[in-house]
Symmetry: C2
Subunit: 272 residues, 2 copies
């Protein structure tokens, strides 16, 4: 984010953080990526709830909602549209892995420009590849958007081709888990399917919104183990995250998916 | 390391680093912990080699040896004894997991006081416990001392008792891998055994020194899968890292190990 326009650390405009912060030392923290649109942080209550839940998973004291609201207000004063990133780290601690008893978490909020995607991407759909890196199994961290993201970095480093929009990640056991920075949905025989994230992966806010909306509208939804064969056999495939909201997958290798009637339903789930 | 006395970032005395550094954003970097003793960085050539090797594993450009040597000289001018920590991160990059093409790595060197351990610890030996957290399998990162250390943080958070000196970590498959911040050696039937680290764990410099010294002196050494039963059945157990060098394990639960003749041999391997 060299192009970031505005950073707040503990509520103060600052671009630097202590070298000794455990966020840097050990990746001891969590983060959120949020879409700022027309001056509003999209899905803010969901993001706040997820941030608190992820902090709890690591035994981190999540800063109070009022503090985040104040940060958000200052970020939103800078631009109408953009990407907001929020981070909580365990702050500066004594030497060693042991989390300090009296840790004062660091609270970081930053605003960067929204990436530009062609407006036609929804019609054309996106092209995905299969990553070689397999996600390791770690139930203690699965689902959490923590700062230990080397697996994602190594997976994203696998391709250069700008025509590839996302890479699919498999678990060690060969289950499809997600994209490198997105969650995955399949449609098959009237059911909406998404991978179980008990062992690895990040349970994103967009994913949660889709699940809730689908259930509310009577669509059968299953979180389950899915294989690459399940993806190839699906009638439709989508990727979701808080920035893109939803992308229709048009191609994976030789497999091509045409647009279907479910695409607009899926879009409605995410936007509605 | 609130008690750190001196920090260099890219060769300049500074206590802060950019929030946008990928070391903080993603744990995209590696580190070393080195003992400063009598004004000298112990095992310096080994640490330099390991730092370069770990950078290569992540596709990071490791800063030149002359730069590290200059940093080291400035740190060593501050104290005769202490802990030196070196870090390399992928530096500030554009938004997203993709490693920037023209990344300029950040080089961090810091000096902190050496922890104080009772001089009697070698005679009495240390008490270890078994951690509940299991290390996830990730061959792409195994052996590397990278900045994604949440597993170690969560494992170290499992105990408070100051009478417990270290926790043993098992892999998912139930193999003993290491301590939370140390490598593990067993002695049994004339052979020195240490866990294989192809799937998880960190291959420390002290471990490498012991392996080399043992082989040079004609001791049979095996890197292999080891179980907790192997630990309990061992005639002697040791932990190694660059700060403690070697600790004799005296107790794990009900199992107690007396001092043996091999203890002094092991000490010689590490100190010699």
């Amino acid at each position: 984010m060299t192009d970031a326009t505005f950073i707040l650390v503990d509520g103060e405009p600052r671009e630097m953080i202590a070298v000794l912060d455990r966020g840097l030392m050990y990746g001891d923290g969590v983060f959120r990526t949020i879409r700022l649109e027309a001056g509003r942080a999209v899905w803010w209550p969901d993001h706040l709830a997820k941030l608190a839940a992820d902090c709890a998973r690591l035994g981190l004291a999540c800063p109070a909602p009022e503090l985040w609201a104040a940060d958000l207000q200052r970020l939103c004063a800078q631009a109408q549209n953009g990407v907001i990133k929020l981070m909580v780290t365990r702050g500066v601690g004594s030497r060693g892995y042991r989390p300090p008893q009296a840790a004062r978490p660091s609270r970081i909020a930053l605003l960067a420009p929204l990436p530009e995607w062609p407006a036609s991407l929804w019609q054309t759909g996106v092209t995905v590849r299969l990553c070689e890196l397999r996600l390791g199994r770690q139930p203690r961290l699965a689902g959490v958007k923590h700062l230990n993201r080397l697996e994602n970095v190594l997976a994203r480093a696998e391709w250069d081709d700008p025509g590839i929009h996302e890479g699919l990640l498999l678990s060690e056991e060969g289950h499809v888990i997600s994209g490198v920075s997105s969650n995955l949905f399949l449609y098959r025989a009237g059911e909406l399917l998404t991978p179980r994230l008990d062992d690895c992966g990040v349970a994103g806010v967009a994913r949660g919104r889709v699940l809730q909306a689908a259930i509310a509208r009577g669509v059968t939804v299953r979180e389950q183990d899915l294989t690459l064969d399940d993806v190839l056999a699906a009638e439709a495939v989508w990727l979701t995250n808080s920035l893109i909201r939803v992308w229709r997958v048009a191609r994976l290798g030789d497999r091509v998916w045409p647009q279907t009637g479910m695409d607009s339903v899926m879009r409605e789930f995410v936007h509605g």
